[in-house]
Symmetry: C2
Subunit: 466 residues, 2 copies
């Protein structure tokens, strides 16, 4: 009886999602069109506009206490629907800010003019994270409009600083403990382990941000008059950066690996069993070979091993033609991905110390220490995760993958630590979603299958013993 009842209701919800798909697509396009790039000061007003669009949408679909909380940088959007006082409550976290779009000339269609092609929606933020947030809003809206109520109390916390490591959020959470109190956190800001494989994330890497600058002579010099005699800041910088790793492999910074939890044989077997087709990924990326730390598989390197990456480098003449100059300075942006149980502050110190120690006396080095975020992992067998697994398997009709992922969502670890409740990370984005790169996209199914899975999840939760 219960089974057939659930099928009937789900059918009505799915019909609702199907029937209104064009409206939902137009609404998501509105959201995606707002260039809410949180790291660029010139987009500050756009970020605010995205927050206000979201608040307006939440009011329209029936949420209460919709608020746009100001912070020192970008606002936090909050809303709730408490229909069962005293019953468990879920906090849905997401973010409405997006990454920068450069190199903008490499986009097939402009990043803030959403387009549909090949069964996908293309725009900056399509997967990270506006599209995935929107899937949640559609599930909640469908439940409210079709059934008149949610099966579970829900709070929404959608921030505008995730791409700048959630700088204001810890203070907001600290100051609003009652507001955000919940029995469960639900987040969709991850990617599936393989195309179309429903995935629950059970671990995330931490992050450390640094900028290193090398200074030589106090002005640019003619390479004919001074070349050979003075240190070239570009050359000093490339030697410092090259010294970070043994080839493309093991990181050589003393103390970098302190605290890294080695993988058990069981963990390695589980990772090896995940759907990850090395040759297909290599083909899709256009690389002839993978590279990285010896002794680990590519999938392990990208998910459960720490990294140092140079995200940007610049110095001297970059124009057309040639300029025989020794520049006076050179710079690089660096991030490290960390795994349990590395300490981000100690890693940041270790990398900075490595640069300072290895800079020759003929140059000077300065290190700007940016944000840090701790790594995170969870119990993959909690009742909340079991509820999500069942919902996804029903909606997608295939087994769910539970995996530790390589990305960093600092707030997950923060919420986990502050609320001490389970966090369920459900992915709707695909491995080829191009998050943080040109041509970001998400499948059109985000408007139907994803909310259909979430509807099931809320029902399973209402019946689960949390």
């Amino acid at each position: 009886m219960r089974e057939s009842g659930r099928r009937f209701e789900t059918g009505a919800l799915e019909a609702y999602l199907r029937e209104h798909e064009a409206r939902h697509l137009a609404e998501l396009f509105e959201f995606l069109s707002i260039p809410s790039v949180s790291t660029l000061p010139e987009h500050r007003a756009d970020v605010r506009r995205a927050a206000e669009w979201l608040a307006g949408y939440l009011e329209r679909i029936g949420f209460d206490n919709v608020s746009v909380f100001p912070t020192e940088l970008h606002p936090i959007v909050y809303a709730e629907r408490i229909e069962h006082p005293g019953a468990p409550t879920a906090l849905i976290y997401g973010h409405y800010d997006v990454q920068p779009v450069d190199p903008v000339h490499r986009w097939t269609t402009p990043p803030f003019e959403p387009a549909v092609r090949d069964g996908k929606i293309w725009a900056r933020g399509a997967s990270d994270d506006k599209g995935q947030v929107f899937a949640h809003l559609l599930a909640l809206r469908a439940l409210i409009e079709v059934e008149g109520r949610l099966p579970f109390n829900v709070k929404l916390l959608i921030e505008g600083e995730e791409e700048v490591t959630s700088v204001s959020l810890p203070k907001f959470l600290e100051e609003n403990k009652d507001l955000i109190r919940a029995d469960l956190v639900v987040i969709s800001d991850t990617t599936m382990v393989a195309e179309g494989v429903p995935t629950i994330c059970c671990g995330l890497r931490g992050l450390v941000d640094l900028e290193v600058s090398v200074y030589g002579a106090k002005r640019d010099l003619h390479s004919g008059l001074y070349g050979g005699m003075v240190a070239n800041p570009i050359h000093v910088l490339v030697q410092l950066l090259a010294s970070l790793r043994q080839g493309q492999g093991r990181i050589l910074v003393p103390g970098f690996y302190d605290g890294v939890a080695e993988l058990s044989e069981r963990e390695r077997r589980e990772i090896a069993a995940l759907p990850f087709d090395e040759s297909a990924v290599a083909r899709e990326l256009g690389v002839a070979a993978f590279d990285g730390e010896p002794g680990y598989t590519p999938h392990e390197r990208a998910t459960v091993r720490p990294t140092v990456e140079v995200n940007g480098i610049w110095g001297g003449f970059q124009g057309e033609g040639s300029k025989t100059v020794i520049p006076s300075e050179a710079h690089a942006k660096i991030t490290c991905r960390l795994v349990p149980d590395q300490d981000p502050v100690r890693v940041q110190e270790a990398v900075a110390a490595h640069f300072i120690k290895n800079c020759p006396p003929s140059a000077t080095v300065k290190v700007r220490k940016g944000a840090v975020a701790r790594p995170w992992r969870c119990d993959p067998d909690s009742p909340a995760i079991r509820a999500a697994v069942r919902a996804l398997e029903e909606a997608y009709g295939r087994p769910v993958a539970k995996a530790r992922l390589g990305g960093s969502i600092p707030v997950v670890e923060t919420l986990d630590r502050m609320l001490a409740v389970p966090c369920v990370l459900i992915a709707f984005a695909q491995p080829g979603c191009n998050a943080h790169a040109p041509d970001e996209n998400i499948p059109l199914s985000t408007l139907q299958t994803a909310p259909a899975a979430l509807v099931r999840f809320w029902r399973n939760l209402a019946e689960a013993d949390l």
Copy 2:
């Protein structure tokens, strides 16, 4: 009698230069105001305008056969004054094109708005090479206007591509052998070995230009999702560049030093005797220590030893804040300075081969080979150089330094090889002239002492046994 006669005439010429200094300054300002940046396509019309200004000036001061020869890139200005048919002829070479001006925000006054401060003229091209060319024009004009004639036949060849390694000049010289035939070449495109020390250059380094590009995945990647598994083109590039040298010292490219003529003990003593105050230079440059190839002094490293310099590097995110991207490509511009008897083509091949050999299979490397120029040196005791030494010592009232310099003027070696006549390189620019850098300058004496020395040089030449 001759001695006193020469003094009288020189006095009249010096009086002429003194009397018309304001007019000459205004004329030089006109020349310096034209942004004739030869490497930037958007300045092509400006380069042409500088050529035409020069041709107009040469006609005005009494030169014949003034021509602006088109080339595939920037025109060549030619003029002559043959007053003593059958007698020896000098070819004065110079260039009217200039280096780019970036970083433009580091100029005290705008690069193409010439200004006088602290006894110097400040503008792009002030020393390299418009100001030094103009000193020659003033000497010739003074002789023509005061004495009615030149003591020596003179041809002028002023090109617009020196800063792009004189790409059109070899073909022009080849096709105009009769036009440029001369018994002597005179060039002022070098700097003094120390402030105010009249200097004749007896050697120049060659040049090799390369651009190296490293490619990884076919698109930019999220460093969380792919970091650790794919090669980062910035990291590959910095390792390739770092592998060029042992620290900041000896170059490790196999074959790089092939053909390098080792210094004799006499040469080392002569270099050591040149005025070069290491601590003063270090202070002026704002460096705590020099660096470079072990076993050589800083002055030797910057003049008679070969180098590899990275002139520019770029890749990934350079904006404000942080972007967790693994870029799909990274690039660097490289030049090598060569000494006798390195072969530029072989050095270029060796550096390119080093990059290709050392690029890991997880990335691809491409090397664009740019222009090359051979190193050059001359007999420091030729009659023409002796004539110049006497003229400079009289005008400046102090001993002349004869030195090999670290810069490259490809045309010197080309003219030397094609005409097989002595080349006399007389410097009017100072070590702190900031050629190729912000705040380029030249002393105001360029309008008086420099042409006064050149007037004496032409007279000495007329009496010399070439």
